[in-house]
Symmetry: C2
Subunit: 109 residues, 2 copies
C-alpha cells in the first residue's frame, strides 16, 4: 500500500502546484487559464497538473477542446487531518509536562 499522503504532500511541496490549488479554491478553471500566470512552457505545466491529478487533489473533465479542472476537498481534509493529529499528540504531551512541573512546584512549597 503506497500511502496517499506521499502523493498529497509531494504535490503540495511544489509552489506551482500550490498556486494551482489556491486558484482552484476560488473556482474551477480551464487548463489555459491555470497556466497563464506561470512563466513556464505549457507542456511543463501539464506535468505539474498531472501530478496533482494523480495525487487525487484535483480532478478534471474535457469538453470539446477545453479541459476544466476542479479541486477535490476530500484529500485536502486527509492531509490536514494527519497534520492535526500529530500536532495534537505533541501539544497534549507538552501540556502534560507543564502540569507535571506545576504539580512538582506545588509539592515542593
Amino acid at each position: 500500500m503506497t500511502n496517499h499522503l506521499d502523493r498529497f504532500f509531494d504535490a503540495l511541496a511544489d509552489p506551482t502546484c500550490r498556486a494551482v490549488i489556491e486558484r482552484l479554491a476560488q473556482s474551477p478553471a480551464p487548463v489555459s487559464e491555470l497556466h497563464a500566470p506561470h512563466d513556464i512552457a505549457l507542456s511543463t505545466f501539464l506535468k505539474h497538473l498531472k501530478v496533482l491529478e494523480e495525487s487525487g487533489l484535483v480532478r478534471s473533465e474535457k469538453k470539446g477542446r477545453v479541459r476544466t479542472v476542479h479541486i477535490e476537498a476530500g484529500p485536502l481534509k486527509t492531509a490536514e487531518g494527519w497534520l492535526s493529529q500529530q500536532r495534537g499528540l505533541w501539544e497534549a504531551r507538552l501540556d502534560q509536562l507543564e502540569d507535571l512541573i506545576t504539580h512538582l512546584n506545588k509539592t515542593k512549597m
Copy 2:
C-alpha cells in the same frame, strides 16, 4: 522569497520523514532510536533528518555523543493552516452553489 511551505510539504512527502514525525509526536528521541525501525543505512537516514531539521519541523541538540530530536509544533500548524484555508474557500463556494440551486428550484415551482 522561498516559501517555507515548500520545505514543510517536501519533508512530509517522504514516508521516512513522516514516520519520524509520528514517532516524535509521542516524545523526543535520540537519533539512533529514531533510526532503529527503518531498514536503511544510518547515513541515509541522517539525510532525511537533515531535511526535516532544515524545514524547521524538527529541532535537535547534542549532549555528549547523543543528539536528541524533538518536534516543533509551529510549522505543523502553518502547514495545517494553509490546507484548512484552501479547503475552507472551496467548501464555502460549494455551499453557495448549493444554496443557489435550492433557490432556483424554489423559484421555478
